[in-house]
Amino acid sequence: MAKRTRFLTVLLLAGLILSPLPGQQTVTVRVQVRDYADFTRLTLESSSRLDTRLTRTGGILEIHVDSPDSLRLRTAPVSSRLIRSVAWGRSDGRHVLSVVLRSSDFTYNAFTASRPFQLMVDFKEGEAAAPPPVRKEGAAPKSAAQPAVRPPSGVRTIVIDPGHGGIEPGAKGRFGTLEKDVTLPIALKLKAVIEKNLSFRVVMTRDKDMAVSLESRAALANNNDAMLFISIHANGSYKQSSHGSETFFLSLNASDEDVRRLAYFENTQAELEGHIAAQEEEQDVLRMILWDMAQSAYIRQSSRLAELIQAELNALLGTANRGIKQAPFKVLAEVACPAVLVEAAFLSNPDEERRLLNEEFQNNVALAIYQGLVNYIRLYPPEGGR
């Protein structure tokens, strides 16, 4: 508590000292590191735009940060597979974040998002000093920065999936609101705003109150060669006060056997094709096994889509930010394109139940998802890679 008071005093003093200076404000910069299934992401977030420049020396990546504002630097404790430590320093009047890797054998990939400003740097083990990956004939889609499927010329499809429906109501609110009845209007609003502003085809997994199996939702995306899959839900918790928005992407909950299975199919693509030609029945079986792991090739892009959508949800909704998370959602597992599941707010929380029924709130959820999509499409334009 004493710490908190001291912190508030410092804030107050800083505010008093800085307020007379025109054009100079104090901006908080937050750094956090998170491990995902096959990479580690460092996120540097700030409420205003920063100029960043990255330089690499051996096992250290330096991020030089330039800003007209005075910066307050925050770093969450780091415990990561790939990153040993991060520390702020100064060089040439600039703030420099030194990211020390556990090994100098790594590759990285950086990109930014706005509102709030975010610099995201993804680190991967190995492949050090390798030239940009050349796509070999029959190479597995492991370096899945680009979708494995070649985009056909013409309009791409976005699949919107309003959660639940028909005899399957999903979560229930205290006043009796059913999840299936709030996911549909949000999804329809999202469809409308995409069709109005972007040249994408939108396919809905349902457009009325009807039951659709989770398998056929994923199949609809795959059969339409979808570019993106967005599932819309409202959350439910045993804890009535749980509140806020979160965006999920798939966790593989990968046991060793899955990893081996996946590795097998990635490494023996040619072999697999031989089998496919050989026996019709076997072909279908193998395809099904591949489908049930389909999302695994898109985890990284899905996580970016989730980050970008979550950033907009925070900006637009004024709900608590529960961040992006991973969980083994059945509906995401079989989707063969970047796929996320948005939990707009908690139906099990009476306040949020009311908000979820409010048309303006529903509009804002749709707009936030739309804005996240637009930012994602800027990063990954559908035609011609990036």
Binding site: K172, G236, S237, Y238, D292, F329, F346
Partner: protein
Amino acid sequence: MPRRRLLLLVVPGLTLCLAAFFFFFQNRGEAPRELKDISVPPETASAAGEDETRTVVLYFLSDQDGLLHPEQRTIPAGPAVEWEARRLIEELIKGSRTGLISPLPPESELRQVFMIRGGTAVVDFSKEFADRHPSGSTAEMTTIYCLVNSLTRNFSAIKQVFFLVNGNERETLNGHISLAKPFLPLRSLIAE
């Protein structure tokens, strides 16, 4: 036409067999056994076990922080891990004594618990476990990891947990989280 129809029958059949094969036996080249053949441990404690007890830690949900908090219980010590795991899950269904929330439908009945290879405990609930579940992503995650974290915390033989409902595999707990694969413990949901 008839060929297509035959395919429709053969393909799911083959898929099931293959899935079962991968699930239970990985690539170790053993002959597949069916789930039914796995012997279920005796349900009665040995006579000697009557007054022997064991302290276990149960995880329940806190209404304060939304995390799983530990609570101690004494259960009768049993002849096998399956037997003790059964007592532990029954305590989880009965609920907390300190005002924490049990994220299991109180109507849930435990049908059986058995171990299969790879330290996987198979926990088979009555259909109320899923049908009476309130649904919702967060609620489903809480239910699953209350069980998985409690079981793996107390029994070193249990590395992961696979769920059955009424003796069958089930697609999701109640609309969200897939039950198709065993769950490893997830420490990030525990307050400690």
